[in-house]
Amino acid sequence: MTRPPTTVPRWVVALAALGAVFFAVPILGLLIDAPWRDLVSILTGSAVLEALGLSLVTSVAAAVVAAVIGVPLGVVLARVEFPGRRLVRALVTLPMVLPPVVGGVALLLAFGRRGVVGSILESVTGWTVPFTTVAVVLAAAFVATPFLVLTVEGAVRNLDGRHEAAAATLGADPGTVFRRVTLPMILPSLRAGLVLAWARALGEFGATVTFAGNLPGRTRTLPLAVFVELDTDRATAITMSLLLMAVSLVVLVSMREHWWGRR
């Protein structure tokens, strides 16, 4: 779609430039302070690799959880009229605006061993969730899933339903229509939402440290390791920050088209 060129007032451009600088300067700070000479040796150190490995495993697991519950949520919110739909939508997207540490407290009150669900779980199975890798995945899924829900809901809403109606007319049952028509049509958005949810899970800190604790190899993901190393080893903290930033940047650049629409 081409539009006629429009002129932007100079002061808007000036403020936009200021905005760009505001975002660029902190990144510049990281780049300037980065221990470039020792970068490789720090990155391949056991503490960094351990945190990186845990981060990758838990963020991918959280993305899977997000897909399993987030896609159906998005579809239902877009397609099914039911009382309290707005409430459910607000509930599901609340973690996007909630301070993550509050999410962590809430998770603890629910799934902690004195929590509503956690106490039942403990008395039945003897197993407690907090301070485990599972807790890391739950915390990450809690904050990340809303991104997928909103993306999928938006995509399904934008479908006009003609293709699905056609498929149904040709004898496809609802399950087949969903799998063979709806899902393929929202695939680009689905992919974008998944990547975004995964990136959010990778960067999760507040809910994790509150709900899952902080133990190397079990619950200390990269963001938690950055937090710990800031107090003890700045060079490692900055290196890990760079790593997280690089991953996030790659993700954002690779999905730019889906998120902002094609141009």
Partner: protein, 253 residues
């Protein structure tokens, strides 16, 4: 503005910004910024209030966080005048970096205990139980004072602690004990005093290594406040400070 309560730091950078704001937007009063370790936070706030009562026109702003977190903030240029650390090592680090003005003063001794939630639901009996993998155990991370001390204590007892979480300041452990999410934790004796009835000691660890709570004057604070800075340190190191520290359970330096 009046901000007498401690500013609890979650992220170091945020509280550097907060500290900057507090100093930047001070109204008529002079604001003396005191960085206090988590374990001495309550005591620092109490003595700050006493100092303010005795010196109208001065506001003592206490920022409470883990000693190592505060050290990094000072290194990053936080304009604090007083640094009150849970151990001497952190102050030594700052002295090595040229941030400390004059000599640091040890003001108290503190030791760790094995603490459990009220009622001791897991039936923890002593330090040796911290090796049990079936218990949920917390201690401080290595590199922060309570974590380094905890590792000294464990090494002295030849104990392999089966920790389930590591925190960057000791009060976070206390919160988790209170919530009954931990079966036991290694915290300062004084933390248990501060926690009241929610947390109890099962092993006082008599004779195990202790740490020297240390206070120091910093170079980075406002120059016109050095008089108040030194007077506040004198209050902490003097008989008034001793009495407050005693009441909180701190030992003699």
């Amino acid at each position: 503005m009046s901000l007498r309560r401690p500013v609890r730091a979650v992220a170091p950078m945020v509280s550097v910004a907060v500290a900057g704001l507090l100093v930047g937007c001070g109204g008529g009063d002079d604001e003396l910024l005191v960085f206090a370790a988590a374990s001495v936070g309550d005591v620092a706030v109490e003595l700050a209030e006493r100092y303010e009562a005795e010196h109208p026109g001065v506001e003592v702003v206490v920022t409470v966080a883990g000693s190592a977190t505060l050290r990094e903030q000072v290194r990053a240029g936080a304009p604090a005048s007083v640094f009150w650390s849970a151990n001497a090592d952190v102050v030594d680090d700052l002295a090595d970096g040229g941030f400390v003005d004059g000599e640091a003063t040890p003001v108290a001794a503190n030791g760790l205990v094995v603490a459990v939630p009220a009622g001791n639901p897991a039936g923890v009996s002593d330090l040796g139980d911290l090796a049990r993998a079936d218990l949920t155990i917390g201690w401080c991370a290595a590199g922060v004072p309570c974590g380094d001390l905890a590792r000294l204590v464990a090494a002295a007892a030849e104990l392999d602690v089966a920790a389930d979480t590591e925190t960057s300041n000791v009060r976070a452990l206390l919160t988790q004990l209170r919530a009954d999410e931990l079966d036991a934790a290694l915290v300062y004796r004084t933390d248990v005093v501060a926690a009241g009835d929610d947390v109890v000691v099962v092993d006082p660890l008599e004779g195990s290594p202790t740490t020297a709570v240390t206070i120091a004057a910093l170079d980075g604070g406002p120059d016109d406040l050095t008089g108040h800075r030194d007077a506040f340190i004198a209050l902490v190191a003097g008989s008034d400070g001793r009495a407050v520290l005693d009441a909180a359970g701190f030992g003699a330096p």
